[in-house]
Amino acid sequence: MYEKIAEELLNRLAKAITEYDADSASDLTIDLLSRGIDPKRIINDGLSKGIQEVSDKFNRLEVFLPHMIFAADAMQIAVHKIIESLPPDRKHEVILGKVVLGTVKGDIHDVGKNIFKTMLLATGFEVYDLGVDVPTEYFINRAEEIKADIIALSCLMTTCLIQLKEVIEDLVRLKIRNKYKVLVGGGAVTETFAHKVAADGYSLDAIAGAGLAKKILGKE
């Protein structure tokens, strides 16, 4: 009986995400927490299930980038409810990590970066989006400030690829290279280039990129 109610609430939570209903998602999450349901289960069987459905629809062109953003926003609000309810030593169970993300200096392409951002949010990362045309030192300062785990760089212009090298070289020069994992992606980046500049990870698409982010932090 008890299990049945939990299941039904989790299904409703998934549905709330597919309907971009942040209020219901938040209420249902509080309800589930008060019934002692494990936060990880709330995320995996409720929130993530919902976001996965929206992302499948996005890939079939049934919904569009704004819908992905609405769904990710609703999910984020619910995840915050979970974080608030946890004692400090358990919060890390829910947040996979903090990512500083942006399109590098000189480059204003942001469609792919925005898609990657929603995928990261949907996977359970906290994302600090610095926008486009972001100078090297902004990435580094922000990462230091918020104690990021990952710096993610998007680049679509061959003539801006040098900026990826710049960020990594500066991290080394400042002796903080080991503090961060650097992920690179976007149309102009190739596996070979990522390797050449000694990035920690490269991915051709956003979904695999979010999986990779999990993997390089050992959260899989």
Partner: protein, 458 residues
């Protein structure tokens, strides 16, 4: 009294309302959602070339209402440049509908084209974004210039110069851009067409501006590109290009690229922003001044050139909306999924060129959605797009739609796995500047096939 560009820039940097970019993006989404209902705009996948005049006219009104409400977002200042209805109407009235591009005997008249207009479209050829390299630059562009049906040429600079990787906005970019402009001029001169109109897309404003020089570089009879960030955003770099062209008195290609699946949503929303972009081009891009032409570059966010049904429909209906209701000179970009030397690319070029020419547009192309090689393009694609476009002035939208349906059935299923094809070196004799047999054979086959489908190409 016409609105001055100084006043527009003042709105951009000083007086426009400030908002966060995310809020602007969401406003774009909400407005397109609202307007597609209000004006009953509906994508029909069986009618890729739109034949519904009433819907094209409603789309025009939707695009106008959209732009009036939204304006242009300035990324550097976070301000919105907005215009009153009166200012928008004045700009619409001022469009001259005719410009001259190029010089001497290579000069061409570029006129507003209407739907079903028999006026030949201007063909602006080139290997757009195809990573042309220093060593092959002159032969590649000379081979394009020697195609007599190509009226004008677009070029962008190499990504590596003298063995060094070029960085955007740096002195190496200026060096690369200036060299490219000189080589492009050398190429057209060698082809015996020194006055041919050139369009430069160097990258940053400082690089584009550096190419502007009477004699060896971009002349006043040539043009540079001024980009618009999707959807309806601009940066100081692009505004700087516009200001410079007004002072230098050369031309501009003002272009915008609705991203299908992005903040404008699907087909209908993207079509509304496609028309909305025109008003941005007229006012912020100073297109009403008679020194600019417009380019609509439809861009799927997913893996596809602008040759799937959605893209072709958007190009055709937005083109018609603008052609029927303004005197604007509008190009559409031909973007393919497949690469050179493949039948698929020639089918895609055919479908795109037909859809646009019967809808009142001029032609900018060809570009591959995702170039993967150096010198990833040849003169053949420019020649082919010109031939198809010239033939397409003799058919109407219904006939065009029937041919496009047949072409689609030849490539549609391969869009996601399109062949990358070859580059200039694999497909052309780079000394004699002629295509190799294999490519010629493919071209001739497709030419026969498209004639059998009903295009009067012979």
């Amino acid at each position: 009294m016409s609105l001055s560009f100084t006043e527009i820039v003042d709105r951009a940097i000083n007086t426009g309302e400030k908002i966060e970019v995310k809020d602007f993006d969401m406003k774009v989404f909400r407005e397109t959602e609202r307007l597609k209902e209000k004006y009953s705009i509906k994508f029909n996948k069986e009618n890729t070339i739109n034949t519904n005049d009433d819907m094209a006219d409603r789309l025009f009104l939707a695009g106008k209402e959209f732009y009036k409400k939204i304006g242009t977002y300035v990324m550097d200042s976070k301000r919105i440049i907005k215009f009153t209805e009166k200012e928008i109407d004045e700009a619409l009235n001022e469009i001259p509908g005719i410009i001259w591009i190029g010089r001497g005997t290579d000069k061409r008249i570029m006129k507003h084209r209407g739907v079903g207009d028999q006026t030949l479209p201007i063909i602006q050829g080139g290997v757009i974004g195809g990573n042309a390299t220093e060593e092959y630059y002159i032969p590649l562009y000379q081979s394009i210039a020697q195609e007599q049906l190509v009226d004008s040429i677009y070029f962008d600079p190499p990504h590596v110069i003298e063995g060094r990787a070029v960085m955007h906005g740096s002195p190496l970019e200026i060096h690369s851009a200036r060299c490219a402009a000189m080589w492009a001029r050398e190429a057209i001169t060698r082809a015996g067409r020194p006055g041919m109109h050139l369009l430069g897309g160097a990258g940053s404003a400082v690089a584009d501006i550096s190419t502007c020089q009477e004699g060896i570089g971009i002349r006043p009879s040539d043009a540079i590109c001024a980009h618009t960030t999707s959807e309806l955003k601009i940066d100081y770099d692009s505004l700087n290009k516009i200001m410079h062209t007004l002072h230098y008195n050369c031309m501009r290609q003002v272009w915008w690229a609705p991203v299908i699946g992005g903040f404008a949503g699907g087909a209908e929303g993207s079509a509304i922003t496609a028309v909305g972009g025109l008003f941005h081009g007229l006012l912020v891009g100073q297109g009403a001044k008679g020194s600019a032409y417009f380019d609509l570059q439809v861009t799927p966010y997913y893996k596809a050139g602008a040759t799937d049904r959605l893209s072709l429909w958007i190009l055709s209906i937005a083109g018609q909306a603008i052609a029927r209701n303004t005197k604007a000179i509008l190009q559409g970009t031909v973007t393919t999924s497949a690469g050179p030397g493949t039948k698929m690319m020639l089918y895609e070029i055919g479908a795109s060129a037909i859809s646009q020419v019967v809808s009142g547009m001029h032609i900018f192309g060809v570009r591959i959605q995702k170039p993967t090689k150096e010198n990833h393009g040849t003169a053949m694609e420019s020649k082919w797009v010109a031939e198809v476009s010239r033939a397409a002035v003799n058919i109407n939208r219904n006939e065009g739609d029937a041919i496009v349906s047949k072409l689609l059935s030849n490539y549609e299923h391969n869009i996601k796995n399109a062949p990358e094809g070859g580059g200039f070196i694999e497909l052309y004799d780079t000394k004699r500047l002629t295509p190799y047999e294999d490519y010629l054979r493919i071209y001739e086959e497709v030419r026969r096939e498209i004639a059998d489908m009903g295009l009067p190409i012979n």
